[in-house]
Symmetry: C2
Subunit: 247 residues, 2 copies
Amino acid sequence: MKDAMKDAMKDAMKDAMTSPDAPPLQPIGVAVDVILFTILDDTLQVLLVDRLSQPFDGLRAVPGGLVERREELACAARRILRAQTGLDVDWLEQLYTFDAVDRDPRRRVLSVSWYALVAPNALEDEAVPESAWGAAWHPARALPALAFDHARQIEAAMTRLRYKIEYTPAAFHLLDSTFTLSELQRVYEVILAQELDKRNFRRRVQSLDLVEETGQLRREGTRRPARLYRFRDEGFERAGGGVLLRF
Amino acid sequence: MKDAMKDAMKDAMKDAMTSPDAPPLQPIGVAVDVILFTILDDTLQVLLVDRLSQPFDGLRAVPGGLVERREELACAARRILRAQTGLDVDWLEQLYTFDAVDRDPRRRVLSVSWYALVAPNALEDEAVPESAWGAAWHPARALPALAFDHARQIEAAMTRLRYKIEYTPAAFHLLDSTFTLSELQRVYEVILAQELDKRNFRRRVQSLDLVEETGQLRREGTRRPARLYRFRDEGFERAGGGVLLRF
DNA sequence: CAATAAAGTGTCATTCCGACACCAACCCTT
DNA sequence: AAGGGTTGGTGTCGGAATGACACTTTATTG
């Protein structure tokens, strides 16, 4: 720890020294936090880890950590996610930069917040390593006490997500590459927190050419098998960024 | 300058020292940049200042600068706007945090980017001080060469603005507190870069109760005077965040 | 008082949207 | 083999919203 501190100070010195014309550094820390969503048990879930040290020892938090000196923020977010959860995500978007001066009681640390989406079965495949972090899913609408300003961050991420699924293909990243229309509908219902009419939903999705049949069926349990679909990029592209799925 | 450097290092040391449990600082600089829009000559305009030193000496840039140690980002943005342009804005929103490692050739500096809106006559009142900064309006769709990643930032801000005027009262901040419906329509036309039908536009605005008559008229030039309106908060609130003005 | 220039106003045809209910297909049980 | 259970899958219709469209009004100026 002492060595790390010395290193940081050497870095600071070098940075200040090598560019005589550069204005002085303000020692503001930069962290990223990642709100990782999935849908499990027909519920929107957020991945939380345990905090094992001060501050906020014993509370839960979203995965996060300091950004390295020459690391892009999105890379930091992915690195931290991988380290704390073992997951690789394919949807990762910057959410907001949280900057309250006292959001970290130790010193000034900005949090550049991101949100990410994974399909629920990513769990089974990659197995969230219980490791030291105690990563686990929690229902997004019934969260325990959280460290830092993470409750606010999750709130903001949920709001953003509600908007995003209406005019981007975000929802598809909460599903496998093939899915049934009922599964797709459930994603929208869970995120929007309202029931949708099955026929109207299908009319929209199909008239926008957002999906195409794979020709295969999902047979599951004791009931009629459902047709499997896959997402069609061209649908969203052709629609050109307007609002697409409004319910 | 040397003193400033010493101060920065002292700060860094203090920060690292006072919290033995705090992880080491990464010396990443934090700046804010502000894309300030107005509408002038029926054109969307961006305020640019001259760069008078390296890097990018001689180019134009949006107002920006380093954040102070205990300063919230929005405060920094307002402080810098005031210093470089003399303007106080009432609409200021965080846009995005730009983080390319080499966006500042001297060293790693994040830019938390904001966009702001002012009514065009703010100019005449407060008189953009030509001062050292050479602040001046430039048509947003015909910009000169810009410092840093500011061209990309402006692009992002314009995209955001296009969305925002559809579901927030942003457009009204580009007008005086009272305005004619034609002026309001021109704001939408300029930002969306498309002509709108006068009667359909008025139908929407009035059916949503976004405006109320002041009872006064604007007489201007050689033509029929127009009724003056003012914005009604309740309109947007009642509409509850859905899409309101879609053309 | 004529010319000019923007302000202001209504209709109609089309499309979009939301509400609504039943049969089909499969599996399992008996 | 028949029947029950469960989800999958489909069409219509009435009302609302949308987009296209042109003329009259009201002021000023010469």
